[in-house]
């Protein structure tokens, strides 16, 4: 977080405050540049670039947003005359980076790479807080799967991109599965991350409503939401209400420890704000996950393949059904295991179980922990923000194959 004096944003914030606009909460301004390289057979076939700028005002519970970022646009959103606002400037749009320079040889199984740069500022009270975020890289594979990184993209083989000669259908029934970090982080994103978002806790839409402080996992598993990790896609220097970024413990050695809150919900839960995120200028800030970092005591030194019948490398998606409390994991890439070795690639299938099945079924946590390109883009009510993860392997018993 930093004051942005040279651009005139502080003066703008002061002028907005002086205008005494009834019910004004904040003014949010954003610039975003994106480039998409379409790839074919390891070469760039086309490039599309777009530049976006806009602003949003929250006033008496109403979000009013518009494209454009000059005095007349801001004045129109604020409902005041343009002349009452001082001149200000915002950072120039950067030139898109060179894909060839970033990657060297382009992977032949990628069909697209997207780059995103974002700059934003929140004007609240007399303060102007700039919001720094990492530049993002998204790779799209030939099978349609997407992987999200901080720029530059990582060309190491992604789950699902390797050729598999034959796949077998998995038999229905209860199984013990070993989740690789890319799958483990999606499970914890759905099981711990979303249900600890304050709006869902207050709505009663979370299995953890009124259960903060309770032990839910026997293992000494810890999950922290950490927006200060700028090596992960969900990083930010301040949240989208201008609160300085700070790590937030959600699960501490198996005990529910905290919640993700914005200013509106923090008071009701007795927690600090700092987790408000916007999908763009036309979306209001809401409590959202940034980067989930998973750690544990008593880590096994290597994944316990001998103790599982299925190794799940990647999920297509994970869902925690609101109210019914069912966890559904749609498996994209997995192997059947026999005596600790991969025996057969498996066709996509669904793992299902109740929240209690999952929390009671976590048996072990193992190294190596890694950064993951999942969960990537996270949607909540159709509003999408980038998220990241750092996770170990998990051994999980009791889910049902469907």
């Amino acid at each position: 977080m930093e004051r942005d004096q040279p651009t005139g944003l502080a003066e703008l914030a002061t002028a907005v405050t002086r205008a005494r606009i009834p019910g004004l909460e904040d003014l949010y301004v954003e610039r975003r540049a994106e480039s998409l390289w379409r790839l074919a057979a390891g070469r760039v076939a086309a490039r599309e670039t777009s530049l976006h700028e806009g602003a949003a005002v929250r006033r008496a519970g109403v979000l009013i947003s518009g494209d454009g970022l000059d005095r007349s646009v801001l004045a129109s959103l604020l409902g005041i005359a343009s002349r009452t606002l001082p001149a200000f400037s915002v950072p120039r749009f950067p030139e898109p980076p060179s894909l060839e320079h970033a990657l060297g040889e382009l992977p032949t199984d990628w069909v697209g790479v997207r780059w995103r740069w974002t700059w934003a500022a929140v004007l609240t009270g007399r303060r102007a807080v700039t919001v720094a975020r990492p530049q993002l890289a998204e790779a799209t594979l030939a099978d349609g799967q997407r992987a999200l990184f901080c720029w530059p993209p990582v060309t190491a083989t992604l789950p699902g991109s390797a050729d598999v000669q034959s796949v077998a259908a998995v038999r229905a029934g209860k199984v013990r599965v070993l989740l690789a970090p890319a799958a483990a982080i999606v499970l914890l994103h759905e099981l711990v991350g979303h249900p600890l978002e304050a709006d869902l806790l207050l709505e009663g839409a979370s299995p953890w409503s009124r259960r903060i402080g309770e032990r839910i996992v026997r293992l000494p598993l810890s999950v922290t939401d950490d927006p200060t990790r700028f090596d992960l896609p969900g990083g930010f220097s301040a949240d989208d209400e201008g609160t300085a970024a700070a790590p937030r413990a959600l699960l501490a050695e198996g005990v529910l420890a905290g919640a993700l809150a914005d200013r509106r919900t923090a008071g009701a839960l007795g927690v600090d704000p700092g987790n408000a995120r916007r999908a763009g200028v036309h979306s209001p800030p809401r409590p959202r996950i940034s980067n989930l970092v998973v750690t544990a005591g008593n880590l096994l030194l290597e994944p316990p393949r001998a103790d599982a019948s299925i190794e799940v490398l990647a999920l297509a998606s994970g869902t925690l059904e609101r109210a019914s409390g069912m966890v559904l994991l749609r498996v994209r890439r997995a192997f059947a295991l026999r005596r600790g070795a991969r025996r057969q690639a498996l066709a996509p299938f669904t793992l299902a179980g109740t929240v209690e099945t999952v929390t009671n079924g976590l048996l072990a946590v193992a190294e190596p922990s890694t950064r993951t390109s999942e969960p990537g883009w996270c949607a909540k009510d159709g509003e999408v923000v980038p998220t990241g993860g750092f996770a170990p392997w998990l051994l999980l018993d009791g889910l049902e194959v469907r």
Binding site: A45, H52, V62, L63, V73, G144
Partner: protein, 431 residues
Amino acid sequence: MRASADLLMAALHSASEELTGKGVRFEVFARLGESARLSRDALGALERRSSREFGVGCRVSGGGCAGFGAASGRGARAGREAARIALGAMLPSPDPLPPRSVLGVTGTSLPHDVPDGDQLDAVLADVATRVSGGSHGVKLVQARILAGTSAAALATGEGFHATATAGGTVMELLVAPPEGPWRHFHFAAPVVSDLDPATITERVQETALLATRGRQPERQLADVLLAPAVAAPIVEALARYLTATGDRDREVRVSGVWRLTDDRLGPEGLLPLQWDGEGLPARRIELIQRGKVGERLATWEIAQRIGGRPGGAVRPSYRHPPAAGPANLVVHPAASTPRSTLLSRVASGFYLAAPAGSVRVDATEGRFGVHAAAVALREGRPVAAHPLVELRGSFRRLLAGLLATGGESESFSLSCAVTTPSLLFHRLEIA
């Protein structure tokens, strides 16, 4: 309306000025969207949004290269920036721009107005009161209403110019039955006044209470009757799959009951427009008919490269170049069969009443899956309820297995507009 026209024209002019004399062919597309949205939670708290989005997208081609750029912001500046970016993004490519001779004419559609907040308030409050009222135990968790309009203009360096306007309203409800999963409902109409609170309430209460408790069914192949709300996203996924796969599925077996069109010109469907995403005159495109997969949706560039007719381009936003895809899908009922008659035709199968989540597509394998609330049927009678089943299958089976359609079509505003009746399929996978 005058203000929006001025804004669009300023963008077209500034982009054209930037591109004229640069030795390129070009196309400039500008769009202004305005929307009002109102959301109400279980305790009656309201959240309001009002947004105005404006942007310009430019395609340029020349010297064996082509490029695309887009920019949002004020009219003239956004036009200039989009033009500059497009020139900078040029890479070796076939010319994607259709020639002037195939483009359409400017329509004269009337302007659409964004409804005022009071009108949205009144409709939402009426629905909320009705849904939460009574002794059925259904609670409203969240209700949203969104009304929007858009004005768009397109011009080319060869003198073509067209404008269009569109508008629509969507209401979404999340309700909690006395037990079982929460249910999501979606209603769409051209204008707010077409949303009838009484009809919406009746549909919500009836469907929310249909499958509140029950066991998971065994995995099986069964005849399946899809309510329009379940059928619509599957129909959209099928149309996108056929667009993407091209000729791969042209010769597969197709039920003679199918007739699926992209009714771009209307009058059927929710969202007719006068020209496609590249300015070609809108027309009805027969996607499936008479037991065959029909025309493939194609842009000008795709049609030149692989054959077929252009006119199947869509442009949901100025941010991206036009792409082939459905715009206003209509499943035409084969006969006006009431739903009760369709139910009686299911000797052993399921009625899927409401979707739970979006359709998942494996484009590589040509398969889809969706969760839904279901009722098991024997000889047309309900014998068990299943709060959450998964319907899976291949698009080939979907094409071959349509047995009958209902007569009562409903419209949905998904990634494109879809209008469909109930659809009865032979032997799809239920789990």
